[in-house]
């Protein structure tokens, strides 16, 4: 599951903190047997620029100077059958051809809160 992290964080007010999103998404992935790729504009939690895999189910990406949108559009073909999580219509249009399913940021947050 490819997650436009900042978009999900901003789907709620007050915005979800970085660590909170990672924790909740990780718990959700464990419950549902999914692998998640959380893509952050700039730095991922822990100051990560680039990729890191804190556990088997989670990959964190900090895109540095590149936008998360551009990273997702470029990398999505490498994850065939992945789901894409974003409410950004431009990103959906650009990357949804590669995704099996597209979920809105707010909808995904509600799923995490169940």
């Amino acid at each position: 599951m490819l997650i436009d992290a900042r978009n999900v964080q901003r789907s709620k007010w007050p915005n979800l903190r970085d660590e909170e999103l990672v924790e909740r998404a990780h718990a959700w992935a464990e419950r549902n047997g999914k692998r998640i790729v959380l893509v952050f504009d700039g730095k991922a939690p822990g100051g990560v620029v680039g990729t890191t895999e804190p556990d088997e189910q989670t990959m964190l990406v900090g895109t540095g100077r590149e936008s998360a949108d551009d990273w997702l559009i470029r990398e999505a073909p490498r994850y065939p059958g992945a789901w894409l999580v974003t409410s950004d219509r431009a990103l959906r249009a650009a990357a949804s051809g590669q995704a099996e399913r597209v979920i809105g940021g707010g909808g995904f947050l509600r799923e995490l809160e169940r």
Binding site: D4, R6, R10, S11, K12, W13, S87
Partner: protein
Amino acid sequence: MSGRLRAGGAGAAAATAWGLLEPVDQRLLRCDYSDIAVLGKAVTRGLHWRLSGFVLHAANGAIFGPAFDEIRRRLRTDPRRPAVTLPLAQHLTLYPLCYFIDRYHPARGELGVPPLLRNPRAFAQATWRHALFGTVLGRLAS
């Protein structure tokens, strides 16, 4: 220059000042809500969203200015008073329409387009911006 034309120019200038000063309240209130982004990212997601946002916002101001001018002529009061109260009344009346931005805006969740309807900081920002707009409009149009 006719009063209506002057009021239109004043409205456009006031709306531009609003856009230029958005970073100040964004920083003070720690909320990235931007009307320039809401407008600009509704029409384009390319490099020109900011320019598009400013143009649309100035056009809004240019439409509001003559309407304000007409009302202030009829009221025959100190023009600065309706210049502030009218934008604030419009803000309070139309703010519930943020529901549609939260639900349908093509860039919702992106920078400048946070959830608005239940966001007290965004409401405070919008209130301050409308008051600023009215103050500048009142001064320039009088």
